[in-house]
């Protein structure tokens, strides 16, 4: 019985979907696989700031992909430093970075923090190196308002003193970073390293520790080597951070959008109510007009909604207003597939075919138009997604993504789910009751 096998698969899929859809889902933690599950709402729903940063280089200058990704990483660090939850930093196209800060109301402050040149410091850590990623307070940056709650570290010198940095190999052939200091820096460095051999000298960028090498010997010539367990990539990354102290490419703000929180929440609530009303009307229509298959289609549409929403939560897909509209339209697609099949089924039944044969033919004949029309929709989605990505137009991207996911799931529910249900129910329908059950 193939139908029963499908039924089991459908039930499993639905069970997983319901688990993921549950509010306060604990997340998935299997072995080393961990994933939190949550509904992500876009800026237009919760309010916030979106900024598009662009590499500020003369026209025609080639932009190195590597530098751009470093810049993106640095921006990300700074955004994380702002303490905004669910902030998003993404490279968009070759020369732009999108920054989204949900819940932030004042774009000016946030964006200036992101844009300013980072502060690179060398701090004395004594004998206890702090691990990379630790947030520290230094006496240079916090000179005016010393915070007593956290240990204050002494800044030996700042990144201004660095003249040149390059990746090299040390005597043992491992990757290392070679640096050169200006004369002022060389003096400070010479003095510090002579009296602090064995201490750790922390390298701190924007108050975040990026590395804490130990002083092995006095460095008096203003030239030194940082060695450690580097591979080429990590050595390069550190070198870039040392060299630019901050952004390897200057960035300018080409676009900012601020959405007040009231506007978003108002829209969200109303749109959700609207969706629910629309959904109920459609469900009623299907049941009344198509009778038995309509009711089965209703069940499969609800399954469709559960599964699609579960995928949105799992990936996760950020839900924006157009994203919700995309979801809604793919619901239309899912219904369309069902309606195409049922109209066909009615036709075949009217033509006097037996029930099982009619069902077979209906699916077979409706399939090419369902396939072709949905592929055309997916093509449009693909182009929209590309368009949205290149411009950091997250609304367009969100719309195309939800529509595409919805279309794929709708194919599954119309072809597999509705069909399986119908196959399971058909044996119990008596031929003389066709008129009542199928509304011919």
């Amino acid at each position: 019985m193939r139908s029963y096998r499908w039924l089991i698969i459908i039930l499993i899929v639905v069970a997983i979907a319901i688990f993921i859809d549950l509010p306060n889902n604990p997340g998935i933690h299997i072995g080393s696989f961990n994933r939190e599950i949550e509904t992500r709402l876009g800026l237009d729903l919760v309010g916030g700031v979106q900024a598009l940063l662009e590499a500020d280089l003369p026209e025609g200058t080639a932009i190195e992909a590597e530098k751009m990704s470093t810049a993106t990483r640095i921006v990300e660090n700074r955004v994380n430093g702002l303490g905004v939850t669910e902030a998003l930093v993404q490279q968009a196209g070759e020369k732009r970075i999108v920054v989204e800060l949900p819940g932030v109301e004042d774009p000016l402050e946030a964006i200036s923090t992101i844009q300013e040149t980072g502060l690179l410091e060398f701090v004395d850590m004594g004998f206890n190196p702090l691990p990379a990623g630790t947030i520290v307070v230094t006496d240079f940056a916090a000179a005016e308002t010393p915070d007593t709650s956290e240990p204050l570290l002494h800044t030996v010198m700042t990144g201004d003193a660095i003249e040149n940095v390059q990746v090299t190999r040390d005597q043992t052939g491992n990757y290392a970073i070679q640096f050169e200091l200006n004369s002022e820096g060389a003096d400070i460095f010479s003095e510090y390293t002579t009296s602090n051999v064995g201490n750790h000298l922390g390298i701190v960028l924007d108050n975040t520790v990026i590395s804490a090498p130990r002083v092995d010997e006095p460095i008096t010539e203003g030239e030194g080597i940082i060695s450690g367990a580097f591979d080429l990539e990590s050595a390069n990354a550190l070198a870039v951070q040392l060299r630019y102290g901050s952004l390897p490419i200057p960035l300018k703000v080409v676009e900012t959008r601020t959405i007040g929180p009231t506007l978003g929440q108002d829209s969200l609530q109303k749109s959700l109510v609207a969706l629910l009303i629309g959904f109920i009307i459609v469900i009623l229509f299907m049941g009344i007009y198509y009778r038995l298959p309509g009711i089965l289609a209703d069940v499969s549409i609800i399954i469709y909604a559960l599964v699609t929403f579960a995928i949105f939560r799992y990936l996760p897909v950020t839900l924006t207003l157009p994203g919700i509209a995309g979801f809604m339209l793919s619901t239309g697609s899912a219904l369309d597939a069902n309606i195409l099949i049922f109209e066909r089924l009615k036709e075949e039944l009217r033509a006097g075919r037996g029930l099982n044969q009619a069902v077979d033919i209906a699916w077979k004949r409706a399939w090419p138009s369902i396939r072709d029309s949905n592929i055309a929709t997916l093509i449009t989605c693909g182009i929209l997604f590309w368009f949205g990505s290149a411009f950091g137009a997250t609304i367009v991207k969100g719309f195309s993504l939800t529509l595409a996911i919805g279309v794929v799931i709708s194919l599954f529910t119309a072809i597999v789910v509705t069909r399986t249900f119908l196959n399971l129910v058909l044996p119990y329908v008596k031929e003389k009751n066709f008129t009542r059950w199928f509304g011919i």
Binding site: L321, L329, G332, E343, S373, T380, I383, F391, A393, V396
Partner: protein, 310 residues
Amino acid sequence: MFNILGKRYLFFGISLLIILPGLLLAIIYGLNLSVDFTGGTLMELSFTPGDPPPPAEIVALYNQFDVTDVQVQTTGDNTIVARSSFIEDSLRGDILSAIEESVSDSVTVVRVDSVGATIGQEVTLRAALAIAVAAIIVVVYITFAFRGMPNAFRNGVCAIIAEIHDVLIVFSLVMIGGLLWDWQIDALFLTALLTVIGFSVQDTIVVFDRIRENSSIYKRLPFETLVNHSIIQTLQRSINTQLMTVEFMLLALVLFGGITLRQFAVILLVGLFSGTYSSIFIAAPVLVVWENREWQNWFGRGKKRKQATT
């Protein structure tokens, strides 16, 4: 049986009646492009309690900061919208505090869109490109999907003609909306437009698919009768899918949905209806016009449509 195809020129005429006013408005008033395309800064501020200051006051404040091209509108709900050329964020902050100082109400920033001029141009260019690429790929795909039929390429072209029809209908709607409710052509409009295109093709394919199927069953039927028959057969599906489901959802969104989505929902409502309409009353009839090469008779005297079925 309905003879839909017999009245095809009537349907072409109806579409023209809707499309032409929009084109005329575009020629007279120009396009109402948003800052997404032109670049610039839009600030929407709400004043509570009480009335927003008169636009002239806001304009004067902008002028103090040497921003002289600002346009200010009151939009109800104690809200004003100020559009100007692109302003740096810091300057915008200064202007905002100046506005806050000058009025006794508390000022809430509802929305700010600030787009650099170059990126606006680039968006426009890429948008046009995106639509063109989508159209071409769809023609190619349809030609491929209908490769078993004679003149498969025609199907693709007719689908695109229906698509252009829908784009023009939506365009006309936005121009009229611009005149009546100050609608703008923005990024969201573009999204709506691309959706309309996608669904238009979807509908057209459903009708064409039926023509494809019928042409292998009724080999002897004249093409026009065959197409008419196919349209009738898919009519129930088109009405049910479009009017009863998708349009209901959109209508609910227009009536009860949030204000930010209203323009978007109305455009989709009309656009998707047009998509269904055009698959029946434009795409399929054009296919027949092409098959009959009717344009040879368009300018002929007294012989109009005499040979329509030959």
